[in-house]
Subunit: 301 residues, 2 copies
């Protein structure tokens, strides 16, 4: 590992922030990791578990002492945290680099420009580790969470190249695959592969739970249904916030999907054997190819 920095600050110590802290300490990317948040208990637990070296509830102290600030709060809270950080570091030559781990990038890019009167702050690097788990909280954090997982950085034209490079090195130190993407492209891809499926799973389970036959429905559902609806067990607050933050791309994805579902409904209603067969066959081929890619990636792990 070529790069070493003194202090990384994790703002918001849950599964994502805690796992980053563990990975950076395990791999010696920095001398120390400090935690910041609004409430002491999870930070105290982080120190107890050895996830972080120390913590503070004082944002000014974090800004003064850390080389990199990583905002690991929920999506909409990240906008508020940015509103506190960016004015405090504006124009400071010794200001820390700021990055984040939120699921949507466009809303934070817009927030950063708004907070800085239209000027994107060059040392704020937008990032998104694509990792997670059904568990949450610092107690579930793991040093290996990011190994072979994708981290997408979405640098903008105004970004300081050194800042982007340091954030990239930080994620590489966790064992992640780091790739760059355009902000809009990131939000569209995530809407399609993650945000839309969550909305579909929530809509399906809620529709069935409210139907007259809901007792029988859940009594006779089997393994396929369990897998298909697993993501409907995700945190409602987190997903409400993501839906709001990525509204435009999510609406586009919902509409794309709804159009295809309407076509398939027409095929079912008309007993259009060939149409259904063609759609199902194309989908199976795409899904099998995707599964093969994932299996290949898992082998590399």
């Amino acid at each position: 590992m070529a790069t070493r920095v003194n202090t990384v600050a994790v703002l918001g110590l849950g599964l994502i922030g805690g796992s980053l802290a563990r990975a950076l300490k395990t791999n010696g990317f920095c001398e120390r990791v400090i935690g910041y948040g609004h409430r002491a208990p999870s930070l105290e637990k982080g120190v107890e578990l050895g996830v972080i070296d120390s913590f503070t509830l004082d944002l000014a102290e974090v800004i003064d002492s850390a080389d990199i600030l990583v905002i690991c709060t929920p999506t909409l809270v990240a906008e508020q945290v940015l509103a506190q950080i960016l004015p405090a570091i504006a124009g400071r030559a010794d200001a820390p680099i700021v990055t984040d781990a939120a699921s949507v990038k466009g809303n934070l890019e817009r927030a950063a420009r708004r907070i800085c009167d239209g000027q994107y702050p060059p040392r704020f690097v937008l990032g998104h580790p694509i990792a997670g788990s059904e568990q949450s909280g610092v107690a579930a954090s793991r040093a290996d969470l990011y190994i072979n997982h994708r981290v997408i950085l979405t640098p903008v034209a105004e970004n300081d190249a050194d800042a982007v490079s340091l954030v990239r090195d930080m994620w590489l130190a966790t064992g992640a695959d780091v790739v760059d993407m355009d902000v809009a492209q990131h939000d569209a891809v995530l809407a399609a592969t993650s945000h839309l499926p969550h909305v579909l799973a929530y809509a399906l389970v809620d529709a069935l739970a409210q139907s007259d036959a809901s007792d029988d429905i859940f009594r006779f559902a089997a393994g396929g249904f369990r897998d298909f609806t697993r993501i409907a067990s995700s945190d409602p607050v987190m997903w409400r916030d993501i839906a709001i933050a990525n509204k435009a791309a999510l609406l586009e994805a919902i509409d794309l999907f709804s159009g295809h579902l309407a076509d398939l409904r027409t095929a079912v209603a008309g007993e259009d054997s060939d149409g259904m067969h063609a759609t199902f066959t194309r989908a199976k081929a795409a899904r099998d190819e995707f599964a093969a890619i994932l299996a290949e990636r898992a082998k590399g792990k």
Copy 2:
């Protein structure tokens, strides 16, 4: 096991029929299991693997020699097999009992009445084992496939009580949980928990595969997407046939779902935090409860 019969015939020797044959032989429910089909290779393999004792390509021979005929063919093929069997056994006092393992029941009930000029044949018992696997074919068959899985019987008013009882005993011998249900209720429940999710998964994967960003989409999709889309890797022919066989209930399920999705789209577009939170929270509660039931059932296994 109280009941023992001499010969069970499995018509269509794939995963479902092969696993039934193995389970019945393992548990001594019958003296022998014979296989029937249109093509010899899978039947020969069934004999080689010890799944069945013998096979024939002659349906008349099956009808003459078996006590129970179990139709384990694909859904729409089952209608054709019924059309061959039911006239051959009409009015015969020594006729074997006939049952099936198809995913949809209403189409077979209608087919039976049609074939028998409006008179439902008393010794034809509609049944559906809710079990399966991503694998298929006789080579994937397992004696324990049905243990602790649900088998739904949908007897009709005209059914012979002894025939229903013997079919129930047969499935109990495999280790399954056997429950009775109304035909229409079965088809509605299966449409909701299985047929609709398959249509949604196929529609989603096909929509994404055809989008301009499909390369990125599949490159950056992760574990949640893999689980959500697993059923889109299912056999296109099987699911086309199920969609046709259960058209009415499936269309109703699609419409129920589409209404809920449209409501959720409105909530996203209007940034209706409370509405989204309420829906997501209800869905999570229902899904968590369902997962707990499944976990409990798995413990009993």
